[in-house]
Amino acid sequence: MKASSLDRANRRNGLLFCLPWLIGLSVFLIYPLCAALYYSLCDYSVLLPPVFIGLDNYAGLMRDPLFWKSLGNTAYFAAGSVTLGLLVSLSLALLLNSKVKGLGLYRTIFFLPSLMPVVASSILWMWMYNGQSGLINTGLHSLGVNGPAWLADPLWSKPAIIIMAVWGAGNAMVVYLAGLQDVPTSLYEAALIDGAGFFQRLIHVTIPMISPVIYFNVVLSIISGFQAFTQAFIMTGSTGAPERSTLFYVLNLYNVGFQDLRMGYASAMAWVLFVIILLLTLAATKLSQRLVTYDR
């Protein structure tokens, strides 16, 4: 079919409007992505030209206990913060969904922490987690419980960071709240008429109706959970002490690439991260096709 002059004009206009993005896409996204692939096959220290070494970097990764440890740490953190975050933010949204007095104040209190710069909240929580004079341990002590050394204890360092992440999950709560308020009351009325109790209403009406929102949020949370960096960097230093328990994937990448200047190796790590996120998103999509209801 011959393109009419209108089509041609439209295409020209469309491309013109999209020009910034086309430039941005190629320069800041596609080129770096391909460059990262090339660098991952080289030894590259920026100051010296890259030397092609084939798949040595990837082989090295497989043998590298730090790689596996950082992957494990990150998976632990992502799983923990996503599930706990989901539970807490969903529960809060459910609690706030009724016409509570002071809704605005509650919403502010829960939402505000999610706006704070991670650097500031990391410093704050670092102080609160202090084994001797921190707020948390002295609070626990007054309840008769001896708190662990938190950030200094390899077993508790990740849970400590997860708790901090959950504190900042207020934005998810707002999303769920909005989603909940979109659920038509007619469905609830129908369920009540059928004699459904609270939990049945929850499981059969509420959750399916907001499942698209939950899905979207969970996917985004997982992706950002795998990128955790700042909290570990600030609270436990760049080595992920103690015993590398908080050596997250991106922290390891940063160390290798920008401290040891092994950019080739770091690029290999970057690509592995990319593939992992891709696979996770695909898995989530497949799962969503079964669990998420997009009916009308």
Binding site: L48, V51, D56, A152, T239, E243, Q259, L261
Partner: protein
Amino acid sequence: MKGPLRALSHRVSALALITAVASLVVTASSGCSTSRDKQAPRHLTYWEKWTGFEGEAMDAIVDDFNAKEAAHAKADPNYAPIEVEKVTITKIEQKLLIAIAGGNPPDLAGHYSFAVAAYADHGALTDLGPLLAKSGFDRNRYIEHYVQLGEHRGKTWALPLVPASTALVFNKRLFQEAGLDPDHPPTTIEEFDAYAEKLTKWEVTLPSGEKQIQSGYLPNVPAAQKRLLQAGFLPGEPSWWLTGWGDFFGGRLIDGPDTISTANPANIRAFEWVASYSNKLGVGVIKRFRSGFGNSSSPQSAFLSGKVAMVLQGVWIHNYIEKYAPGLRWGAAPFPYPADRPELAGTTHAEADVLMIPKGSAHPNEALAFMQYASTQAVLEKLCLGQQKFTPLVSVSDEFWRAHPNPYIRLFRDLGVSKNAVNIPKTGIWNEYNRELGNAVDLIQSLKQPPAQALAEVQEKMQAALDRDTKILALRQAQ
């Protein structure tokens, strides 16, 4: 028709506006050039890591140099003076390499000697050889051990500025209280261990409920009834040389340029000795005890507050004591050696703060001029006196000895000159090696892994890393 024409002009004007704003902002952000005439000062950025009194000592030197240059320019209008701007960069080990790699390095930088090998191998430094040759550099003025710290693979990459050495530093009052002679510190490791036991004090809760102070390791008293008040020695306090304990037992971390020797018997012996302290005191006890220590540069630091009686410390300890614990009666002596290895007497960790010229420095000749100035005897003595350390030069003026406030300065210098002065292995993978070793020592001290196993794992991993590096170096040279 007015439509398309107007549309075009709208679009163009909008585009022009955006471009104008953007370019204005871009130029503003990247700054404008400052040179006006040809006698404008040659500006040198110098990144240094020191803060506090050490930083001030260097500030004085920089001020002197700038004044000298200004005077020269005044006398000779055709001379463009060099103007040094010293910028204090904390955690320079994290920031310098990345600045050099980013193409935005300072003209001159002060770093630690153990970074030279890695930086040189990465191509981050300017070879000082040709520059020094032109300027009539006399290597013999320097103490051999310190000047070779700046050399790697046959080339000179950095010059030592302020040296350091480590020794056994102990609290004389605590010695006396424990019935030990403060004028006779331990000379062998075995003696040292015996002293440490006597210097360890606990508050014990007796069955009757009353509290009593007892010394020794008290293995028969259950942990719940004793609280550590004072430790004779803690290998982790301070934690700066945690990876270097092997040196005192004759173990080296590298055996030649191609072999990693972490797991050699002397090192294993050293770290078993380190682990023995965790055994004697108890890992939990040490953790709790240490959590009460303050910052190492504060009156609450372990040694300064009298909580630990003996430490391995560097020549700067005098100033810390002066500042934070002025009443402390302290002594210094060479760190003990194993009784069966008397040839190891006088072993010390001898590193130095060095000056290096990053690759891509905009003013290498000016940087060299400053380095030369800073390495003259008078200036170096002024700097080292201000930092309360000794100089890396062979010749020392009488005035320096007389004016020096550190009562043990001669001891520290003798240690630095001795044949048993050791330095951190000069290898490009030291950063990684140090991290791995630090992690291993962490595990050894927490008694989670026996030293032989932990060290063997590090050796395996680091040997692979070294082989990888050697292979890449060969590939690069073949290119």
